[in-house]
């Protein structure tokens, strides 16, 4: 059993290997591929198609975010990676290996290469912090002294060296999640799965856990796949993001692109909480259609990367005063991501302006002040 844990595939995930990218010509471990994965649950309430035809690749070292409404299939997809859930059809490949073929021993070995952390931490209450963290090694048959050094190592990594002999019930939420991270890392996995790992934590603790995840991604070079409903988490640490809607891929790509110029309604509605760009008194009066010819059109322009709008062309495209309601430019992964919200003069036609920039859209209409 210990052979599985000490296999070359695991030791590759050490900092040196991560920095080198490849070792002895072998590709870096931690890649994932989904091939037409579908999952249907059968319950007394009938069949639920939780995943439909999901095909995508996750590269080694990615911090890959999965977002979507509740029930979109995020957890189902994540759980196919360590076979807590079996796809109904399709294949999941870890480092090019079809994991549906594994027998029980192979599955156990696979799971030792894939760590997982959970929203509610799932720590064993009858075991101390150290005993919780040591469990993956105990069941793998690792020698006592090595268990001691490796648990010390990961407890130091997550900043809990002084809590080894405490029971989990005595820890704060953030500390519990750190124990979860330590337990997931002690087997030196190449992939870390996080299912809403920060959803039960307050914003400050969330930040510290994200910091920790980013840190281990850098230090250990492991691939992280995380589900969250907090868009700020994605923006903070992910490099790619997948938007699921009704079990299917709505869109997928680099975070700066998907967040900067969302192409799917599902993405836009998920991002809505991030867009605090409309003043509340304006949203209260906003309506989808013009009620009178003098209503003012409110236009939103979003852009990411290269195609920044030509402000002069925009301004001269419509007659009358253009009021700037909000504007922001942020840098996500060193790409400029901007959003401009304008209100046109009473009665001005929005078409002239929306033709100026591909992403310019009418958000709605507000009554003119006079």
């Amino acid at each position: 059993m210990s052979a599985g844990v000490l296999s070359p595939a695991i030791t590759l995930a050490t900092p040196v290997a991560a920095a080198a990218g490849t070792v002895a010509g072998k590709p870096r471990p931690g890649s994932l591929r989904f091939e037409a994965v579908a999952k249907t649950y059968h319950s007394s309430a009938g069949a639920v198609e939780a995943l439909k035809d999901i095909s995508l690749d996750i590269a080694p070292g990615d911090i890959y975010g999965i977002i979507g409404r509740s029930g979109a299939g995020k957890s189902s997809l994540l759980r196919t990676i360590n076979r807590l859930e079996e796809p109904t059809t399709g294949r999941v490949l870890v480092d090019g290996e079809d994991i549906s073929r594994l027998d029980e021993a192979g599955l156990v070995a696979l799971r030792r290469r894939i760590g997982m952390i959970f929203q509610h931490f799932n720590l064993l209450s009858a075991r101390t912090v150290r005993e919780n963290v040591a469990l993956p090694l105990i069941v793998a048959g690792v020698a006592k002294e090595e268990i001691r050094t490796r648990t010390d190592e990961v407890l130091a990594l997550v900043g809990l060296s002084d809590k080894g002999d405490t029971y989990p019930s005595r820890l704060s939420g953030g500390q519990k999640q750190r124990v979860g991270v330590a337990r997931a890392l002690v087997s030196r996995p190449e992939i870390l799965l996080c299912d809403e790992a920060t959803s039960a934590l307050d914003p400050e603790t969330t930040l510290s856990i994200l910091e920790l995840l980013r840190d281990i991604n850098r230090k250990l070079g492991l691939t992280i796949v995380l589900i969250t409903h907090e868009m700020s988490v994605i923006r903070e640490i992910c490099n790619r993001v997948l938007v699921l809607e009704g079990g299917a891929i709505a869109e997928e790509g680099p975070v700066w692109q998907v967040f900067g110029a969302p192409r799917h309604d599902a993405t836009r509605s998920l991002l809505a909480p991030l867009q605090r760009d409309l003043p509340p008194e304006l949203t209260a009066n906003l309506r989808p259609e013009a009620q009178t010819p003098r209503d003012r059109a409110v236009i939103g322009i979003s852009y990411a990367g290269t195609v920044a709008p030509d402000l002069q062309a925009l301004a001269s495209a419509t007659k009358g005063a253009v009021e700037l309601l909000s504007a922001s430019v942020e840098r996500i992964q060193s790409h400029a991501v901007g959003r401009i919200v304008l209100a046109l003069a009473p009665g001005a036609k929005p078409a002239a302006l929306t033709s100026q920039h591909p992403s310019a859209k009418v958000i709605g209409y507000v009554p003119a002040d006079d």
């Binding site: 360590n82 894939i114 064993l124 009858a126």
Partner: protein, 217 residues
């Protein structure tokens, strides 16, 4: 009370402890695996075998439905087969253990079912095999419930052991009926009641204390 009566009470006290102790030991050794089987062999369990699960469940319910005094008599042929006699302490241990095992198993089953399924998943995700999950998750996490269930079982068995007097098993209940009731010796009757109350309280106290200690972690 005469010195002989005091001796008799001591002997009865010892017999009761012995009967209950041995049958409780058997109930633990058989009941815990039975409970683990009932929980893990259900649909979606780690040792899923739904058909066998239903059959065993029916058997357990069957035994639970039969009152102890009936079981005591109905099991006489079985008791003779196992211990070679149908009177005495050992003859009482057989029906006591047979009735306590499913009783205890059902209580343990409830505590096992209360374990958060997330813990099982976490154990699977770190590479636990199924027997590891039983050893490191199910049993330790349910331990407070198991100890609490054992307390209830032992208290119930102390009561049931009094009925074992019907097969001449001896014990406190036997003394109470033969001397206290049939010979109208109120002192003996009172003595037996006091001993039983103290015994049951001690068991309950010890059980509660252990559970509190475990839960305080």
């Amino acid at each position: 009370m005469s010195p002989q009566m005091i001796d008799r009470l001591w002997q009865a006290f010892y017999d009761t402890l012995f009967m209950v102790g041995i049958s409780a030991g058997i109930a633990v050794l058989a009941g815990i695996p039975l409970a683990v089987f009932l929980v893990t062999s259900g649909p979606g369990g780690i040792f899923a075998a739904p058909r066998l699960n239903r059959i065993v469940g029916l058997f357990v319910n069957g035994f639970r439905a039969v009152p102890f005094i009936v079981l005591l008599v109905a099991l006489i042929p079985f008791t003779r087969l196992v211990v070679g006699t149908t009177i005495g302490v050992w003859a009482a241990i057989v029906p006591l253990a047979v009735s306590a095992t499913p009783f205890f198993a059902r209580i343990v089953e409830v505590s096992l079912r209360e374990i958060d399924p997330g813990l099982i998943e976490a154990a699977q995700s770190i590479g636990c095999r199924r027997h590891h999950i039983v050893r490191y998750v199910y049993l330790p996490e349910a331990l407070p419930g198991i100890i609490g269930g054992l307390t209830i079982t032992v208290v119930t068995m102390i009561g049931a052991s009094a009925m074992a007097g019907a097969v001449g098993a001896g014990g406190l209940g036997d003394v109470a009926i033969r001397y206290g009731y049939q010979r109208f010796d109120t002192t003996v009757m009172m003595a037996v009641i006091v001993i039983l109350v103290v015994l049951v309280s001690a068991v309950q106290f010890a059980g509660d204390y252990a559970v509190r200690r475990l839960k305080a972690r």
